[in-house]
């Protein structure tokens, strides 16, 4: 036994054959240890869902292999399926069933019975706060509740591996917040591996310990969200709001500092003290410009309302990674 819960080895999926075929997933390899919450990032059509479908055994890979808890998906599909909780894209469920009967079905299909089954269902219901809608047909539930039914089904058997395809897609901000809280809670124990796909970058920062970016079926980055953000040109950029004396060319002053690459104007606002200017000063790669800016501001005696240093912007990195990926 390795301590890797998921191991992908050059996993590849080609849809169709001949000239019209699509290489949806192209030699994806990575492994995930217990306790990791992996954010699987990529633009639409990058191959996220296809990769997840191969891990869960819904689609057979064209080549390469996927192992879950040491079991090969192709060789022992039932062993793998028993160890995975899966929330497919859009959280499909039998529309005319109630959450109660749906969860009962899933529990039986997973071989549970009697008080163990009752206990597992009750626990999943309370974790996803489904108590109020247990007897209502699923197709009459709101999107948020439908998603929770899908999540309840996925965590019913306390799986060591949890795979969620766009778990917060299409939810309103409160529902998103709820689902993320639940994901963090599920990750909490540290024995479980969680993979969630998303194209919402704030989600990765909010819940993931690791991020893998894929574009055109290939892995283009694998790092922690903080490391990834640090690749941004906004890494260590300084955003300041200040009220300089009228007529001061502050952008030029900042631009003259050593290590400054450019200055972005974020707008002005009129206050009782004068015009407040907000801008982001972007450093050249690897430079730390915060001390120089602090010193400049102090020496000129400008009134500073706000000043902060950025860790970097994931969306910026994401765009860069996935658009260069698209060129080859």
């Amino acid at each position: 036994m390795t301590n890797r819960l998921i191991e992908l080895d050059r996993l590849t999926k080609r849809f169709g054959s001949g000239s019209g075929s699509i290489l949806a997933v192209d030699g994806v390899s990575f492994s995930i240890a217990p306790g990791e919450v992996l954010g699987f990032l990529g633009p639409n059509g990058a191959g996220k869902s296809t990769t997840m479908k191969m891990i869960t055994g819904y689609l057979a890979p064209t080549s390469g292999s996927a192992k879950v808890c040491g079991f090969d998906v192709g060789e022992s599909p039932l062993d793998v399926k028993a160890r995975i909780g899966y929330l497919p894209e859009g959280a499909p469920a039998y529309a005319d069933m109630t959450p109660e009967s749906f969860l009962d079905f899933c529990a039986r299909a997973r071989g549970m019975s009697g008080s163990a089954k009752r206990g597992a269902i009750d626990k999943a219901i309370s974790r996803t706060s489904l108590q109020g809608v247990l007897r209502q047909p699923i197709d009459t539930l709101s999107k948020g509740f439908k998603r929770r039914v899908g999540l309840a089904q996925a965590i019913l058997h306390e799986p060591p591996v949890l795979i969620m395809d766009e778990p917060t897609d299409g939810l309103d901000p409160n529902q998103k917040f709820e689902v993320r809280r639940l994901i963090r809670e599920l990750a909490g124990q540290g024995e479980r591996a969680i993979v969630l796909s998303t194209h919402i970058l704030e989600e990765v920062e909010a819940v993931c310990t690791r991020a893998i970016v894929i574009a055109k079926g290939k892995v283009v980055a694998d790092a922690t969200p903080i490391e990834l953000a640090a690749r941004s040109r906004y890494h260590n950029a300084v955003t300041v709001s200040l009220v300089p004396p009228a007529g001061t060319a502050i952008f030029e002053e900042f631009q003259k500092l050593a290590g400054v690459a450019s200055v972005e104007d974020l707008g002005r606002a009129t206050t009782s003290e004068g015009v407040r200017v907000t801008c982001t000063v972007i450093p050249s790669r690897g430079k730390d410009i915060a001390p120089a800016i602090t010193q400049l501001v102090r020496s000129k005696n400008w009134r500073v309302d706000q000043m902060r240093t950025e860790g970097g912007r994931l969306d910026d990195v994401f765009r860069e990674l996935t658009s260069t990926g698209a060129k080859n």
Partner: protein
Amino acid sequence: MQGWTAVLRRELAGYFVTPVAYVFIIIFLILSGVFTFEIGGFFEARQADLRSFFTFQPWLFMCLIPAIAMRLWAEERRSGTLELLSTLPITRLGAVVGKYLAAWIFTTLAIVLTFPLWITVNYLGHPDNGAILTGYVGSVLMAGSFLAIGACASAATRSQVVAFILAVVVCFGFLLAGLSPVLDFFQGWAPQGVVDTIASFSFLTRFDSIGKGVIDARDLIFFGSLIVTCLVLNAALLERGK
């Protein structure tokens, strides 16, 4: 095959949470009555048996059973629940068998609910109850065969309408196979072996002989192997076009 009972249970319960089941049973019973008493000339024949009931049944099943079967897999594909079902620790054949058996149990229930007809003939005279019983066995077998064909058609497509039409056409073919105009058509030019093979696929011939009170092992084997073949094909079709 683990987990198939969960599928069977869910499916069976599913028939009764929507009005579909009740509508189907009521239509089936009304049409059975209409065919038996009005069109079949039950009273004019002045015979206390269920011949007219069984005569029309294959044609009734040809239209009604594909309607039950069409949603089996097409609906799972359309709603995305096929993905959910396929990632539960159940074998594909287990899911196919669970769903199929639930549909078969349901149609058997509909067939059993025609028992007032049986009571009526017994009230009016002294029918051959043995032949009636084997007639019912034949009904259940034929319904099961049509269902297996319909389930296959449903697995082959995402559209319920296409699944329905496909199933009706194939069922119709199996019914036609035994009729003499069809066999005469082949008789002229096809080798005798082909004609015999076509004739042996006839549901009608087998259904009639079972209905006369003779349950031949060959008929059971025919219907049984047809059902098994369809279910295996059904499982294979699910793998395709995901």
